[in-house]
Amino acid sequence: MEIKKVEKEKSVQISLIGRLDATTFSELQLVLDEIFKSKIKELVFDFKELEYVSSAGLRILLNAQKLALNNSFKMKLINVNKDVMDVFKITGFDEFLTIE
């Protein structure tokens, strides 16, 4: 999986390319840990080129969303494809994730 990070003022956009699964989620975790060290206002995940998300990926998104709530920054997902959206729907993640 390839991760692209774009920072603009206090807004961070992360583009994921490939698969967010059990073998790749730790890479994203490292990136996110780095981001959460500084205070941000917005976190945007661009899933345009993300093939799929497994439960390992969901776990990271869940934790990120919890952090966003506690540290009052905005978190949203853009360009979510159908397969990934299906996973969100099945697991009920679409209820609390902000998806545009």
Binding site: A22, T23, R59, D86, T91
Partner: protein, 775 residues
């Protein structure tokens, strides 16, 4: 049902005999009645006849008397004596000899001036003095006072007297002399030589006596008499209902409604609503006598007798029928009912019963026979119960032995679900509870698969015991010695030594290299197996076999090799198959076996099931005496649908690539691919994280299979027994704060796959997920 009971039949017989006796009674009565009726009639006719004869005789006497007087008168005239006294005396003489009961007077009377020209009337008359019972000359009739010439009887006699010597009977009339009796005067004319009427004789027929006699005839209470003169149409006697006789005297016959001129003897008529039988007799000179008797009274006695006879007859018949019925009931029906009830008791489970009938010898014999029968049944039952217990014990032990034996054979198929290089199926059906046949198969290592079939030279418990030992010895030997022939030679020596009972074992042992398809085998005196190379047909392996195991010491065994390609197959069997017999004692035979195997080609299990059915229909229910064992193995060549990989999270990419390639090969649609990959990841990661806690070399076997309908992925691991499907599902509706990160993986799998199965077999966790390709 009722018509078949003895009760009904007895009743029927009794009724029929009752009917028969009744008919007989009535026939007898009828004949008796007819005869007696005739006799009564004859008796009555005789009575009438009797009276008629008397009356006729009286009339004859009177006629005779009248004739005599007439002759006397003529003689007196011709003698011309003219002496009145002489005539008187002569007349007196004629009467004095007569019975006064018939006539009381009579005389000779002449025409005026015939005897004496000076004397108008000349007659002589005698009458009977009843007081003194003597006849005397009565001059009263000569007197002027009487003046016979103007008397009706004289005048009518004179006018009718046209013929000489003709008797005339007068109409009955009452006498003028103060004697009020009814009388008839009989006259006979007196003629001179020229035929001129000169006088007449007279005889008075006093009817009082005869009327009295006739009126007194009482044959029965209501019988009555008719006596009349037809010429004068004058009834003399008609005493209906004992009525006064005088009342009807002189009446015309036409006043009698039942009377006619044609009335015949024994004619029946009705008078005053009652039937009468008439006994009639026509007498001289138009007299008629008729005695009429009411039918009822005439036959009263006969009727009465018949009534009594019929009643007695019927009563006695009813009584005897009743007695017969009761006798039959008590002696036949009751004992039968008793027997039936007792027998019912017996069949309902009361075994200690005793039949007791003493009413008749026949039934008491039957009862004692039943008692004997019950006694012997009891004895047999006791013996049977003992035998049954013994048999049950043996059966129980045999069942245990069978369980032990079958648990010793591998019966779970497929035995290696993750090995797709071959398809194997085997079965053993002992002829008795336990058999001497066996099969076995096992992996020597990852690539070498051993399978064998063997037949101990006997059946039953001893063979089964020896079979168990042989199986262990052969397996041990093969596992210990790398060369097949060496292993079998060692096994043979061992079996030879431990074989005091003189058993031998025929066996076919083979080792298949599942990677290369090379098959090594030894045939120790066993039936030639069927071999199919690639997709051709089965034929019998024609290589020379060796001697059976356990017969000789130190035998050398030859190993043969054959290269199997994809879909090559081998069928092993024992002689129970080829020697299966039908009812005509024909063997199933090698040819039929080969044909059956060739005509049907499916999985190993289906092949064997098909063969089993063919043998079953061939045998057609005939009992089989030999164990039937068979083993079918189909070589599938090296497996491309299989991956063996270490159970590590990092290996997911290997699995990912394997599955991706596999799905492209199998042309699985893209939309399904991502689902399969996601589910597979969750399963694999789950195994990698939890299956092998401390083991470092834990492995995961992954196989795929695509059918027309589904695409299945099987994950097998030999880690700890753990069913993730039993884990509690995460609450997907919980709020963000309450959300737990765990359990989502398996939940996802369940949601996106069409079928998810978990089982634990042979110490292995088997997880199958499948997706429906037709959705």
């Amino acid at each position: 049902m009722f018509f078949k009971t003895i009760r009904y039949k007895i009743l029927l017989a009794v009724c029929v005999s009752f009917l028969f006796f009744t008919v007989c009674t009535f026939v007898v009565c009828f004949v008796y009645y007819k005869n007696n009726k005739g006799m009564a009639n004859v008796a009555c006719s005789a009575i009438v006849e009797n009276y008629a004869t008397d009356i006729n005789a009286t009339i004859n006497r009177l006629f005779d008397l009248s004739n005599n007087l007439s002759i006397l008168g003529e003689v007196f005239y011709r003698l011309n004596t003219k002496n009145h006294k002489e005539l008187e005396w002569s007349v007196f003489k004629v009467f004095s000899n007569n019975d006064s009961k018939i006539t009381f007077s009579g005389g000779v009377w002449y025409e005026p001036y015939i005897i004496k020209s000076s004397q108008e009337r000349f007659c002589a008359c005698a009458t009977h003095n009843n007081k003194e019972n003597v006849w005397e000359v009565n001059s009263f009739f000569e007197s002027e006072q009487y003046y016979y010439l103007s008397r009706m009887w004289y005048m009518s006699a004179k006018s009718f007297m046209t013929q000489y010597n003709k008797n005339i009977i007068s109409r009955p009339y009452f006498g003028a002399t103060g004697m009020k009796e009814l009388m008839i005067t009989i006259c006979t004319g007196i003629f001179d030589s020229k035929g001129k009427f000169i006088g007449t004789s007279s005889v008075d027929w006093e009817l009082h006596a005869i009327i009295k006699d006739l009126a007194d005839i009482k044959i029965t209470k209501k019988s009555f008499v008719l006596f009349a003169n037809k010429k004068y149409d004058f009834i003399l006697v008609l005493n209906y209902d004992n009525a006064d006789v005088d009342k009807n005297i002189g009446k015309s016959l036409s006043t009698i409604e039942w009377y006619s001129e044609n009335l015949k003897n024994e004619t029946r008529f009705f008078y005053n609503k009652e039937e009468y039988v008439c006994f009639i007799k026509h007498l001289f000179d138009d007299f008629v006598l008729c005695i009429n008797v009411p039918t009822k009274e005439l036959y009263y006695n006969i009727h009465n007798i018949l009534k009594i006879v019929v009643i007695i007859f019927l009563l006695s018949i009813i009584l005897s029928v009743f007695i017969i019925f009761r006798i039959l009931q008590y002696n036949i029906e009751k004992p039968i009912q008793y027997l039936v009830e007792k027998a019912k008791e017996y069949t309902s489970g009361i075994f200690n019963i005793k039949f007791n009938i003493s009413s008749s010898i026949e039934f008491s014999i039957l009862a004692s026979t039943f008692n004997n029968m019950i006694a012997s049944i009891k004895e047999h039952a006791t013996r049977l119960a003992i035998a049954d217990t013994t048999k049950k014990n043996i059966e129980r032990e045999l069942k245990i032995a069978r369980t032990i034996q079958s648990s010793n054979l591998k019966t779970i198929f497929p035995p290696y679900p993750n090995r797709k290089e071959f398809d194997i199926f085997a079965t053993m059906e002992p002829a008795k509870e336990v058999g001497g046949d066996f099969y076995d198969f096992f992996f020597l290592d990852d690539n070498h698969f051993v399978f064998l079939i063997a037949d101990v030279s006997d059946k039953g418990i001893p063979a089964a015991l020896f079979m168990m030992e042989s199986k262990g010895v052969i397996k041990n030997s093969i596992e210990r010695f790398p060369l097949l022939n060496e292993a079998i030679e060692k096994a043979n020596n061992k079996l030879y030594k431990s074989n005091d009972a003189g058993f031998f074992i025929t066996a076919f042992i083979a080792i298949l290299d599942v990677k290369t398809g090379i098959l090594e085998y030894i045939n120790a005196g066993h039936n030639k197996p069927l071999l199919k190379l690639a997709s051709s047909k089965y034929s019998y392996i024609d290589t020379k076999g060796n001697v059976a195991l356990g017969v000789f010491d130190n035998v050398k065994y030859n190993t043969y090799k054959v290269q199997l390609s994809k879909n090559s197959a081998l069928f092993l069997y024992t002689d129970g198959i080829t020697e299966a017999q039908n009812t005509k004692k024909e063997f199933f035979g090698e040819q039929r076996l080969m044909d059956t195997m060739n005509e049907f080609s499916s999985t190993a299990k289906n092949n064997i099931d098909n063969l089993k059915n063919t043998i079953k229909s061939f045998c057609d229910g005939a009992q089989q005496y030999d164990d039937m064992t068979m083993l079918n193995i189909i070589y599938k060549s090296e497996e491309t649908d299989r991956l063996i990989v270490g159970a590590k999270v990092d290996n997911w990419s290997i699995v990912y690539n394997f599955l991706t390639k596999n799905m492209i090969d199998k042309k699985i649609k893209k939309e399904y691919q991502s689902k399969v990959l996601l589910a597979s990841e969750e399963i694999f990661i789950n195994i990698a994280n939890y299956a092998y806690e401390k083991e470092k070399d834990g492995k995961v076997w992954i196989t795929t299979e695509k059918t027309d309908i589904t695409y299945d992925i099987v994950f097998v691991d030999s880690g700890k027994h753990y069913n993730p499907l039993e884990k509690k599902e995460p609450d997907v509706d919980a709020s963000l704060e309450d959300r737990q990160a765990g359990g989502l993986g398996i939940y996802l799998v369940k949601k996106i796959m069409d079928k998810v199965e978990y089982k634990y077999e042979n110490l292995k966790n088997i997880f199958v997920i499948s997706i429906n390709l037709q959705k």
